[in-house]
């Protein structure tokens, strides 16, 4: 267990620092109230609004661990949302609607996985195809309209609460815990890391890399389907143009802030989810702090660059050298930066 904590320590510290920063400009940030049977407060809002990116980050972590990348998750969200909204508004009921959405996600994952694992196409290109065509497919399902529905069962996944907690937050928590247990309580996680480090060597060592690679992309599609259900349920309508737009980039960012290397290998789902929460805290924090909204993107970009620079493996030696020159000896700051780079 201590090893897990050491791994996610930089992300926890970053998250606390961001929360502290936001609290300085917006003192009520950490306040949580209990109103009309549900918890309310900015933190709860972060947990709820961060659900799509956190879910995507879980699947994306596994894909990136195999040295891949999945650009299509945003489009998959749109397809799944469109399927769910179409099924519910055609009167098929809740279970078939969820099944249709998840089946769409799994099919998308199978498509990506087949292109990567069987045809040997570079992941970034293979998933670019679905990223481009996927939104077109989603529009085909919604016929270019925003497909609205009024079904409380499906809307529950977007705005409902269980024991006062928002359902989207619970969904990503459950997904993260289940996937973490699945890969860490079995050898699967180790095998995925082996593929990411050297696919050929792992194949020779007897790992069925083809099946595992497909499975990883299917997992990503599965997570994207749930994210799509949440996004669609939240606005009670499927917006094929905007549902999940650019969330793949946020998800990749979350994984990278989580300290996972884009070159594959060792991964931590917990750290990626923390990365997603850091991004969402920045987003919500900027809004609450009352900055003019036109500053949002610049502030976000600056914070992201700072976090990434601190994590850069190349920075620690530079920083140490700079400190040694100015102070005569390396200081605590450089070792903290090196820790963040791990």
């Amino acid at each position: 267990m201590p090893q897990v904590f050491r791994r996610i320590l930089p992300q926890v510290l970053t998250l606390l620092a961001v929360i502290l920063l936001v609290s300085l400009v917006f003192p009520g940030f950490v306040q949580i109230d209990f109103e009309r049977g549900r918890l309310v407060g900015p933190i709860i809002d972060v947990l709820k609004r961060g659900a799509p990116v956190a879910l995507l980050a879980v699947g994306m972590t596994l894909v990136i661990a195999t040295r891949g990348i999945d650009l299509s998750v945003g489009a998959t969200m749109a397809i799944s949302g469109a399927c769910a909204a179409w099924a519910i508004s055609s009167g098929y009921g809740l279970i078939p609607a969820l099944a249709a959405a998840i089946a769409a996600g799994i099919l998308s994952g199978l498509w990506n996985g087949t292109l990567v694992a069987v045809f040997g196409i570079q992941p970034i290109v293979a998933t670019l195809i679905l990223m481009t065509a996927g939104r077109g497919l989603a529009q085909l399902i919604t016929e270019g309209r925003i497909l609205t529905f009024s079904h409380d069962g499906l809307a529950f996944f977007g705005s409902g609460t269980i024991l006062g907690l928002p359902v989207p937050a619970l969904i990503w928590c459950v997904a993260a815990v289940l996937f973490a247990l699945l890969v860490r309580r079995t050898a699967l996680g180790l095998l995925i890391e082996a593929i990411g480090i050297n696919r050929r060597a792992s194949t020779i060592a007897g790992i069925n890399s083809r099946v595992l690679l497909v499975a990883v992309y299917v997992a990503s599609g599965f997570c994207a389907a749930w994210a799509g259900i949440i996004a669609t349920a939240d606005i009670r309508g499927a917006d094929a143009n905007n549902s999940g737009l650019w969330l793949e980039l946020d998800a990749i960012l979350a994984v990278v802030i989580g300290g996972n290397s884009l070159m594959g290998g060792r991964f931590s789902i917990a750290a990626s989810v923390l990365g997603a929460l850091i991004i969402q805290t920045i987003d919500t924090g900027i809004l609450l702090a009352g900055f003019p909204s036109e500053f949002n993107l610049v502030i976000k970009a600056t914070l992201v660059i700072v976090i990434l620079v601190l994590q850069s493996p190349n920075l620690a030696p530079h920083l140490a050298r700079a400190l040694r020159i100015s102070r005569g000896a390396p200081l605590v700051g450089s070792s903290a930066a090196r820790e963040a780079g791990e």
Binding site: F119, G120, I121, S293, L297
Partner: protein, 323 residues
Amino acid sequence: MSARTLPLIATIVIFLLAYLVCYLQFPAMLSTRVIGNLLTDNAYLGIVAVGMTIVILSGGIDLSVGSVIAFAGVFIAVMLRDTGLHPVAVFAALLAITTAFGAAMGGLIHVLAMPPFIVTLAGMFLARGAGYMLSVDSVPIDEPFYDFLKDAYYLMPGKGRLTLIGIVMLLSVAAGMVIAHRTRFGTSVFALGGGVQTARLMGVNVGRTTVLIYAFSGFMAGLSGIVFSIYTASSYPLAMVGTELNAIAAVVIGGTILTGGAGYVFGTLIGVLTMGLIQTYIVFDGSLSSWWTKIVIGMLLLLFILLQKGLLRLDIRRRAGAA
């Protein structure tokens, strides 16, 4: 005919075949008017795709270009509105800014050894945010010089208009071809795409080349922003979302391999024109919905990638057979 030139030839053949199909259905497709519009409507994409080709040839990627184009438009409009500067001076300032922006990203990529994907992603947010800070609203451009630029064209036989921005696009492609295939810098780019380690051992100055590559892409994105602002005579900070992916798609359809090291700038022009042709066909047909553009472009991408894969495999097998 090697595996290197085959994708380019395949791209050209498919473009000509597609054009033939369009022509058989709508004979007006071959008029110089349609050809002139094809060049004008896709001028901004063609210019930015040339920069993207160089980046991809080096094995990198630049996700920031769409945001840079939007920033360029807003910058030009706001400068023209709030200062008395001549548009040409504003253009020069803008190109200096976007080139420096690209160079800064290239520097970060090299110094911090971070993946281009992540650095240019942050650059994408930053450029979009900078445009947003200049103006939240759409700003019209009301300038006599702009009307002059917009109406400058060469009347081709058949009343087709070869506009100034179309000519700028063709010149950019020509310049890109010279830079990529006829200069020392271009050779370094190809060497980087083949492998950073090997390039370094061959004596390529990796840091300098990386900075120059992204500076060039930034310059092209700035130029594309100028062309786009002439094309629309207005600006909007949220314009051009997703242009970087269209540019990447055009490069891939044009036969350049995304891992870098092999491809032609001329192919990118054909890729851009193919994508433009699909849109023109959908407009001519009138009954097809706009989302078919996305689906068809996705299918084309798949086709070209599978084609490249197949050719590469054939080539390896042939070489193995010869040995």
